[in-house]
Amino acid sequence: MREIKPVADWTTDWDHLDPRWRDNPYPIWDEIRGGKCPIAHTGRYNGAYLPTRYKDVRAIANDTNSFSSRRVVLRETYPETGTGAPPITSDPPEHKPFKQLLLPAFTPDAIDRLVPGTRASCNELIDRFIAKGRCDAAQDYARLIPIRVIAKMIGIPESDSDLFVHWIHLALEVGITDPAAMEKVEKEMGAYFLGHIAERRAAPKDDLISYLIGAKLEHRALAEIDIIGVLRLLLVAGIDTTWSAIGASLWHLAKTPADRDRLIAQPALMPTAVEEFLRAFSPVTMAREVVKDTVVNGCPIKAGNMLLLSFPAANRDPEVFPDADKVVIDRDQNRHSAFGLGIHRCVGSNLARMEITVALEEWLKRIPKFRLVGDVAWSEGTVRGPRKLPIAFG
């Protein structure tokens, strides 16, 4: 792994790969947000901004003229593939048709149909470790729930899950500083999906691969490269995001018996609590490329830089969220931006919300009392969540 030069000044030299950011980014964002310039800049990554206030993040998310989505992960160098992963890497006007194509598969009604299978899956995972009295809740539980759901939706075998996790790690963590890792992932994923697309062309099934093959984008079938791009997005965005949110929620509940007991006593509070976990531990930080000089909140923003669109930092802004640094499971005014803001709102938000809710409900039914029994390891980069979460119970 590359050595990260330690950050001396977070407002002028920030680095999201600094271990302090990885382990506990909140004080860093608070420091920047409370300082003279709440939009920090760094010379690293060929120049990048970091807004920390909710209203600045919102303004930037809505300004698709100045801030392009063609690069959504902050890296040292960018692969010259040009394939992208629409619609997340698309700008208007190309964005909308791709988004419209995916939306019907992710409405609350469509997602409701996946609830019984997800419940069964959670219980089957708990069966594997409950007798042992301990588990790594990140690896043995949180990770496997979204993998199983998204693999089934897409139409790829769950038995390939180690491969998916490996690709995501290369694409979103290693690939930030290692372009060879990125190239490897693009090549391998492309070949993998090509095989499945060919199989479905011959024999369609009830899955997203078959749906994309049959779908029309402005009256034309999708090009193979676009099908692969969409599938890459669904796989990469559908796993470690929700894995992180489930893991961070369990991490909080392991440390906070009062919240655990309250959720068991008042199950109707769960939807409100899930939104609060999403706010407090928002896993996903996207990037934008500045394509036009502009001014945000009095701060000049120069084209050619990248920008880290920190929804997690926005969600800790005390101007919008009183007691922003506290987890308040009955917080009833919560316009959190964990799923993004504006046209790029996460297409899978209803799916993620369902998976988190079901995962916590089933866990609390079977394991009402549990505690942390070791060090927690957090992922770094684009998606932040526990990757090691040792928990004991009983």
Binding site: P271, R335, S337
Partner: protein, 74 residues
Amino acid sequence: MTTSRLKVRVVADRCQGHNRCRLIAPTLFELDEHGYARAKGDGLVPPELVDKARLAASNCPEYAIEAVPVQPGQ
């Protein structure tokens, strides 16, 4: 004294389909096939759902929901 009632409206070009309103107040909001929200029927809020209507408005990440008092017949 005239009694005003609350009316909810989703500003269509702001809604991004977060679906928080439908989660909070499914009797007041419905979704189209893409998951974008609109008020059900005329948007008038029964008195027992006024709190839910206000919660839906104050939880919308896109500030897309208006909940405003209207006079009867308006």
